[in-house]
């Protein structure tokens, strides 16, 4: 496959690259501006959140455009590393940058209220339910690799874009259903989320081992084996970080102390 974007032709791919680059630049600038401006009225927005946002957005954009994206079409290992960046590491970094919190404190009150209404809507509550998010995320991957979707993805530009979009969004939704950095519609207990996280991780690992012996159409055995191991161990690594942060959240929330009435009222 010489032409990176399949049947879409070069004009479509140029348009996509242009749109993505503009989008990437504007979200970086937008986040920075919101962080700096809102810091004048509220507590200073922490530096690590900026870094997480830049790194998370970069993880996502390199998978969609540029030389890395082009290489992913012919090399299953690159494709898999791309999915780790787009669907796991990128979303994790973006979640840690707390974009919804930043938006809420940057927008004018009426718009912030509207946004908080959206965040608390039934739709948001549904897709951010840990089980639904896990099905969208890991279930989506099973669908991609065990159906002809993988072949279509390399034939049609639109399918390719939709698959990437789904992986990024589902990865994000799953991460916010596990780590409560931004405000969430409905909170689930740590035990509940832990059980869902373990099942989702197990299904991710099983899919990796399945791919090891059942390569998707057009993928050589050697590449499938290498890609599957990237998926397995790379997935483990990101899950390790998520579990660590998740347990740390539990550790912080359950710390034994007397309730300080003043801070409780301020919060």
């Amino acid at each position: 496959m010489e032409h990176g974007w399949g049947h879409g032709g070069s004009s479509a791919s140029t348009a996509i690259e242009l749109i993505c680059t503009l989008l990437y630049a504007s979200v970086l600038v937008g986040y920075t501006l919101m962080g700096r401006l809102s810091s004048q009225h509220y507590k200073s927005w922490p530096l690590y959140r900026y870094i997480c946002w830049y790194a998370g957005c970069t993880c996502s954009v390199v998978v969609i455009i540029g030389p890395f994206a082009a290489a992913a079409h012919s090399d299953f290992r690159i494709h898999m590393i791309g999915h780790l960046l787009l669907g796991m590491l990128g979303p994790l970094l973006i979640v840690l940058s707390a974009p919804a919190t930043l938006l809420l404190r940057s927008l004018p009150i009426s718009q912030a209220r509207r946004l908080s209404h959206v965040l608390r809507s039934r739709y948001a509550a549904l897709i951010c339910h840990p089980v639904v998010a896990a099905i969208l995320n890991t279930g989506g991957l099973w669908l991609l690799y065990t159906t002809p979707l993988y072949t279509w993805m390399h034939q049609y530009t639109a399918v390719n874009l939709l698959v990437h979009l789904h992986i990024a969004l589902a990865g994000y939704v799953f991460t916010i259903s596990m780590l409560y950095v931004d405000p969430v519609a409905h909170r689930y207990s740590h035990v509940y989320r832990a059980i869902v996280a373990v099942i989702a991780a197990a299904l991710h690992g099983m899919l990796a081992k399945y791919l090891y012996v059942h390569p998707p159409t057009g993928v050589s055995t050697g590449q499938a084996e290498a890609g599957a191991q990237w998926m397995y161990y790379g997935g483990d690594l990101v899950q390790l970080i998520i579990i660590g942060l998740f347990c740390y959240e539990w550790y912080r929330v359950t710390r034994p102390r007397q309730i300080n009435v003043k801070t409780a009222l301020d919060a």
Binding site: A201, A202, M206, K209, Y251
Partner: protein, 162 residues
Amino acid sequence: MTPRTGYMHIQDDPAQPRYIYSKRNLWSGVLFGVGLAAFIDETIFHQLLHWHHFYDLSTTAVGLVSDGFFHAFSWFATIASLFLFADLRRRKGLWLTRWWGGVLLGAGIFQLYDGLVQHKLMGIHQIRYDVELAPYDWTWNIIAVVMIIVGSILLWRTRRRT
């Protein structure tokens, strides 16, 4: 209050945080044991010695599912158990004897499950390839049983007196 037999016991026990967190000590230990056994299995036998294989072609679907769940659970168990351990320490409720009892029980159960159910019944992979398997299997499973017995004794000795 009239002194009764065992009264001093009852009065002393609840004052000790370790009795309050007796269950948490057990769980932290068991989870750590499972995680530790899985970690040793994966780093030493899979990665360093290459005795085990990432995927051996005789693996059945049920074996793959079982292995997947255990692998994912062991990651979680290791980290969660260490946070529980830290929590017990900050609450001054750590009871090391009971914790070790849990570790041995958890590690023993995992290893016995791995040795009997996963290796033998489901045939996910074997301990080593191209060698006489029996001595390896016996060593593996006997170590597991010894860990279960020692762990159970420690847990029995640290049980809550009611």
